[in-house]
């Protein structure tokens, strides 16, 4: 057995050797010589590396500045999103990528939880608070209004000036997002801005 052990271990390096070859080929074909952003874009299947999302992050970060606080809220579940899973947690990606700009959400403890908690967090928005306006039974309206009041008071207390809404979906399209600025003169307290125009005003030199 003693004499067999090393040859056996050597034989089983075949798989990692195969991986080393595959990885090296892929690296030189897809990423070698590219900057970090281009390398990230080449990694398919990573939601927060999608090019359109990276553009949003880069410009929004510069436009809002490091001291800003942004309230992020799902607006609705996209019609073509059959099974909203973990890959649709754009609020989480934004909290990381916009940092040090602070990102705020409703029920942060639930939002920070696991994939088991995520459906409950979505239910809070679409069942309890009816943020998508899809309607609810009469008996739940009282609860909805109380929750909304509580949340609006918390938003006011934190002095959140900006709000970004997005659809729950795996795909990311800038056109689906909406940006609002706090404005008490407007019904609901949020005035919608032209997101694209807002982003275009980001100083080019800073990008």
């Amino acid at each position: 057995m003693r004499r067999l052990l090393l040859p056996l271990v050597i034989a089983f390096t075949l798989f990692p050797l195969g991986f080393a070859g595959l990885y090296t080929r892929t690296y030189f074909a897809d990423r070698a010589g590219k900057n970090l952003d281009a390398q990230r874009a080449s990694l398919k299947g990573v939601p927060w590396f999608k090019p359109e999302y990276r553009v949003l992050v880069k410009r929004l970060k510069k436009r809002l500045g490091p001291d800003a606080a942004l309230f992020v809220e799902p607006e609705k579940i996209a019609e073509d999103e059959k099974n909203p899973g973990g890959r649709t947690r754009w609020f989480l990606y934004l909290a990381n990528d916009l940092y040090p700009t602070r990102v705020y959400v409703r029920a942060p403890k639930l939002a920070s939880g696991t994939l088991v908690d995520y459906p409950e967090w979505m239910d809070l928005h679409f069942e309890d608070l009816d943020v998508d306006g899809s309607g609810m039974g009469f008996t739940r309206i009282l609860k909805r209004d109380r929750l909304r009041q509580e949340h609006n008071a918390a938003i006011d207390a934190r002095g959140l000036r900006w709000k970004l809404t997005y659809p729950i979906a795996q795909h990311f399209r800038l056109a689906d997002l909406h940006l609002y600025e706090r404005d008490d003169a407007v019904e609901g307290g949020w005035r919608e801005l032209d997101l694209q125009a807002f982003l275009d005003e980001a100083p080019e030199a800073a990008l």
Partner: protein, 531 residues
Amino acid sequence: MITLATLIAALAIWGLGRIVLSQAAPSQRTRLEVHSLAVLVGFALWACLIMAAGLALPIANLGRGLGIGLATTAGLAGAALTWRTKTAPIAQPKTPWTWPERLAAGLALFFCAFSLFYASTMPIHIFDPVFHFAYKGKLLFHEGLMQAGWTDVEGPIGRVITHPDYPPGVGAIESLVSLIAGDFAADEARPLFALFVLATGGLLFARLRETSRRAALTGALLWLASPFLFYSRLPHQNWLKGAYALFFGPAAGKDQFGITMGPAGPLPGEWTMPDGWTLDGAGDLPLAALFSAGALLLFGVMTSAGSRRRGDTLLAGLLLGGGALMKNEGLALLPVALLAAGLGWLLTQETARPTIAKTLRTLGTTLGLALVVAGPWLAVRHSVPTIGEDYPSRLTPSGLVEAATSTQPIRVSMTTGAVEQQLVPRIVAGGFFDAVTHTPRFGLLWLLFFGALGFAALRPRQRFRGLTAATSLAVLGAFALYALVLVVTPWNLDALFKTAIPDRLIFHVAPLAIFALVTIFEGEGASETAD
């Protein structure tokens, strides 16, 4: 990616560790052991220092100049000490190199180089390294430890932070690199993760070299070529198709075999690029490296009467404490290491082991030092919000009974996706069995380890002596601990298993398992002439 900041940080890590090693009998160690331990101790101490500083102020506020100054001073001091100190010569082999040894040496060097290449050329991209670890590095760097970003998860509106109760040791290492770079730069810290692989390989080689060159090469290669360092799954669920895709690429595999059809049409994500959990920047690899090194040194002291290497107790404490900064499991494994050390002492011949007074002093010193190093985190841990996971409160007799009799749905067929309701202990046992027998993920590591235990059971007095026994028992203890934790976890086990659990957990003791299996098969402390 490797930048100047990466290189300066690497020098600082090695340098600080080398300064500490100067107090731990470097002349009684081989050069490989000195440098391997220096790197690991440096990681533990920098993580501790950065987190301690983070308690007072954001790391960025220390200033880039101070960061570069401290880092280069540590590096230069380490270099000066190396220049002045002689190390123990490697015993000349009495047997000529055999062809398997030459091949193994070449492969070990190849995988050292590939680890560095891999860690340097892939941006951090897996969910856990980004959100559970690097995000905490950002908070540490810009806000300091335990500021609003860590705790503002209560109430109707607040900020998100996944697993706020995970210790930010990995984030601290990323903050060190960022301090030198002048801005937060987790991707520049990623290449440093390869040093955990190299240092662990170096330590295994150095310690097993006392048995024989063949033992040393076997242990080092088992570690350095562990598939789980690089990927957790093959590019296809089917073993043969996965192997084909590994050598010829997923696209070629798809051309050759087509797309597998499930009951609802083509199965999604069938052909993929293999993914990597451990070298991508999560805490599992640092914990595996630091815990295993610390435990190995502690077991050596506890099972040997002579003080072969002065200072091993000091280093063991620092390393075990560093492990507790990388993941909570590091703290949970600390009593496992102490218990295994005690059992190892009992299983060592009375004439060959230290006195009981010295033994107790060793255990006390190790525990004390580990708690000091983990101190910056332990000091604030109680005030961190816990989200969903509060294992100590669940690991009660009533909690265990309740969990052991509950059931969960578990996927029983990868192809059809069929789900079955099963008892939780059965699901957990199945998860461990799958992990241990997952040869594409771990090669022969676990099969050899359990095979070695069976081999040792045939002649336990000869093959299951002090150091080997302590190391094996630590591995088994970790398995038992993690099995208990999985039985009471509030997580859905099916969802957990999809994220390479329990494989990532048992990986924490993989270096110890390698040491144990090689010493069981090759003999503990045998000489080259035994060939």
